[in-house]
């Protein structure tokens, strides 16, 4: 390709949008091979990396006499992982097509699967769950799907891999597809408008239905995996469309004369900016316009209403901004606002509460006990909390909530916590950002759990959901 053609191609390709997805499954399901295939076929692998992989493949005799490249090696990570033949941790990969830039969170299945899947899925627009066509739906598949439903991942794609090893049998695929649908129904996944579910037959090894549709599965008329990933709406796009503007304040920008010398050199009016004061943060959902009425939510105050008089971004004055933009907002009234406060569309936030009902995905080897003191990080505020009681634990075999008094590593359960200060908590079902929080160990600072705000008992809204 000549430089000119390429330059022209780049010109038309811009701007691309960002799409984040995660893969869940184990090495045995061919996950590494699938990830390697996506990277390889989308030409994200450069020649020196490919050479190294080809050499190692040959050294290990991969593919027998006819040879071949072990695509799984492309995702080989740390020395410790190579030595033990396992994947320890979520690894992030990057590739791009003409339409999108992709961030792939590659979540290992064997070790600490819940921790890794929760981590990868928390930022994912979509998750690809791998199933080995020869094995069908396993307990691990149920676990993965339950975590995805818990986190309300918007798009779930089940890739039935190794379809070549079952002779591209439609029957095998349809049986697995029916099993997946059954599990999804039990979980409420895909049926409530929260998530959509797609099942795709693939061969990661040969590339069938990964980047291009395969001729060897004529009975499958749906899109190839990459086509799906290129066209699904990203969570950011959906969140920007929400009506409820939410803006947790990260810090107050108030230079008080300490203006940036480069801005002053570029002609910034020093007098005009002497008393500049703006609230910096990232819009977590919805959008805001200059002139909008907003409520300021701070602990110990009734919500205070004021008007947005400016939206600044590094010297530009914006008329409007939407999630997930990072901006600085100026308000009409001088209100005492600090980090941890939330600016929201006027009248759209419920009263703050110190009683937190939540689902918890427990990610620490230290179990959760009733009566334990923890920290809760919600938005830009961290408060102390007391674990009042654990109200149940999800049995992943039956999806029933069983009684429990503690939660252990990889458990998903329900708990009630009392906070040291009221927070503007919102149901995670409707607010993926302001409904999420971290549980932190006050002693060593480690993250103990991923928390998802539930409605208080008595608000019946989410009763139809198991988790």
């Amino acid at each position: 390709m000549s430089t000119e053609t390429l330059a022209a191609g780049l010109e038309t390709a811009l701007p691309t949008t960002l799409f984040r997805f995660a893969t869940a499954g184990s090495v045995d399901d061919g996950k590494s091979t699938l990830v390697g295939r996506l990277l390889h076929d989308s030409k994200a692998i450069l020649a020196d990396t490919l050479d190294a992989v080809a050499r190692t493949s040959a050294d290990r005799g991969f593919g027998g006499e006819k040879g071949g490249i072990d695509l799984a090696l492309l995702t080989d990570g740390l020395r410790a992982e190579r030595e033990q033949g396992i994947t320890i941790d979520v690894a992030y990969r990057y590739f791009a097509t003409d339409r999108r830039s992709f961030i792939l969170a590659d979540c290992p299945g064997h070790v600490q699967y819940t921790k890794n899947t929760v981590t990868g899925a928390s930022t994912a627009d979509a998750v690809v769950v791998l199933i080995d066509a020869r094995k069908g739906v396993l307990e691990q598949t149920r676990r993965h799907l339950s975590v995805l439903q818990l986190l309300r991942v918007a798009h779930v794609i089940v890739a039935v891999n190794k379809i070549d090893l079952v002779d591209f049998s439609e029957q095998v695929f349809r049986d697995i597809e029916a099993d997946v649908q059954k599990v999804a129904r039990e979980l409420g996944l895909g049926s409530d408008g929260v998530a959509d579910l797609l099942v795709v037959p693939v061969s990661a090894l040969d590339g069938d239905n990964v980047v291009d549709r395969s001729e060897r599965t004529p009975w499958y008329t749906g899109p190839a995996l990459l086509e799906v990933l290129e066209t699904l709406p990203a969570a950011d796009e959906l969140e920007a469309e929400l009506e409820s503007f939410r803006f947790p304040v990260q810090l107050v920008i108030r230079p008080q004369g300490a203006l940036a010398p480069d801005a002053v050199a570029a002609g910034l009016d020093v007098e005009a900016y002497r008393d500049y004061r703006a609230y910096a943060g990232q819009i977590t959902e919805g959008s805001v316009k200059v002139g909008d009425e907003v409520s300021v939510i701070s602990p110990g105050h009734e919500p205070r209403t004021t008007t947005v008089i400016g939206i600044d971004f590094a010297g530009q004055s914006l008329d409007e901004a939407a999630a997930p933009q990072s901006v600085a907002v100026r308000l009409a009234d001088e209100i005492d606002i600090a980090r941890g406060d939330t600016i929201a569309a006027a009248g759209t936030v419920r009263e703050s509460t110190a009683d937190l009902y939540a689902s918890l995905a427990w990610l620490s080897p230290k179990p959760l006990r009733e009566g334990q003191k923890v920290l809760v990080k919600h938005g830009t505020r961290t408060v102390q909390a007391l674990v009042r009681n654990v109200t149940g634990k999800l049995d992943l075999a039956t999806f029933n909530v069983e009684p429990a008094s503690n939660l252990e590593l990889n458990d998903i359960g329900h708990a009630q916590l009392r906070l040291s200060a009221p927070l503007p908590l919102e149901n995670y079902l409707h607010h993926r950002r302001t409904g999420a929080f971290l549980v932190i160990d006050p002693n060593d600072g480690n993250t103990l759990a991923a928390g998802l705000v539930k409605d208080h008992p008595g608000d019946h809204e989410d009763e139809r959901y198991v988790i």
Binding site: L6, P15, A91, Y276, Q282, T447
Partner: protein
């Protein structure tokens, strides 16, 4: 019917058309064909917003952050993002340069001009001083990149920095692919990849105990091409050696090495003048140039997009030493 259009009418019309537009965009995005790209943030805008969010979180939650600044393109982009995050205020932290003593003069010049322009405090950790005091030994191969760890940790400890921003990107290396955005380091600066905190949503947990510090990587999710597109879009100045120029070079280990004080050809290595540029900037004795005629940022974007070699594979002798070179250095406290 009035012939005069009132301002309310205009406003109403405008509101209606806005509502129709946003509804159309919504339908387009739901139908899976993507709305018009003008309505949505580009991938660069999304990455920029994420990075600024992280920079502000660290400044809000830590006592004394600093930014690693080498004059290399990733650290220049980091500093640019910091200026945007706190505009119209000054960048509220110092920059830290770990100086190998094997510098390209134009990079040191660029560093000093940048610090001056932004009114920043510069802290320098000097590899040379450690060698002079006998606390570090020169390596047989003359490379000083791996020697930066000790002065780095020393500077962090002496200045009581509790958070250090780095320009590390996950696409650079397979060890970096597993790095967190906020990465906890113990008293010895060590990275424990088996024991990392899960990083959930956009909630970053920077809690640490006395003696520990955190490395923050706000541009973790950027690729080399993203960096160059951003430099182009934002019109960011870089040291001149990132662009094609004539230079005296000699071939070693399959790379073009510049002739300089610390980088002398052996008798069997012929010196020739070539049109080259650098894809990374590091220790002059181990950083190679690539043949290139990309004289402008637009040329570089095209070149990087078409490149068939990774930036470290093409230009860093120290990363070629073993498959786990970066992993080993990171565990010891490297950037």
């Amino acid at each position: 019917m009035s012939t005069q259009t009132t301002s309310e009418d205009l406003e109403l019309n405008q509101l209606q058309s806005e509502a129709e537009e946003s509804a159309a965009a919504w339908r387009a995005s739901r139908s899976g064909h993507g709305g018009s790209s003008a309505e949505r943030l580009s991938s660069l805008d999304t990455l920029e917003s994420e990075a600024i969010h992280i920079i502000r979180e660290v400044v809000a939650e830590f006592e004394k952050p600093a930014l690693l600044f080498s004059g290399g393109k990733d650290s220049v982009v980091m500093l640019h993002l910091a200026t945007k995050a706190f505009w119209p205020g000054k960048v509220p932290f110092p920059v830290l340069h770990v100086d190998t003593g094997h510098n390209f003069p134009e990079v040191i010049d660029f560093r000093d001009r940048t610090v001056e322009r932004l009114g920043l405090k510069l802290v320098v950790g000097s590899v040379q001083e450690f060698i002079d005091r006998g606390e570090l030994a020169e390596r047989a191969d003359g490379t000083r990149n791996p020697l930066q760890t000790v002065p780095l940790l020393d500077a962090i400890q002496h200045n009581k920095f509790d958070a250090v921003f780095g320009g590390g990107r996950r696409d650079e290396d397979k060890a970096r692919a597993k790095e967190r955005i906020l990465s906890l380091r113990d008293e010895f600066g060590q990275w424990d990849p088996r024991n990392q905190r899960p990083e959930l949503w956009n909630l970053y947990n920077g809690r640490h105990t006395v003696g520990q510090h955190v490395r923050a990587f706000p541009i973790s999710n950027w690729t080399e091409l993203d960096i160059w597109r951003y430099i182009e879009r934002e019109n960011i100045e870089l040291p001149s050696l990132y662009y094609a120029h004539e230079r005296e070079v000699f071939a070693r280990d399959g790379m073009w090495r510049a002739v300089g004080e610390v980088s002398q050809p052996l008798p069997n290595e012929d010196v020739i003048t070539k049109l080259v540029r650098y894809r990374t900037v590091g220790d002059m004795s181990c950083t190679g140039a690539v043949e290139s005629d990309a004289r402008t940022v637009a040329d570089v974007v095209v070149e990087v997009a078409a490149s068939t070699l990774t930036e470290r594979g093409a230009t860093r002798a120290d990363d070629r030493i073993s498959e786990a070179a970066m992993e080993d250095r990171k565990k010891d406290g490297y950037f």
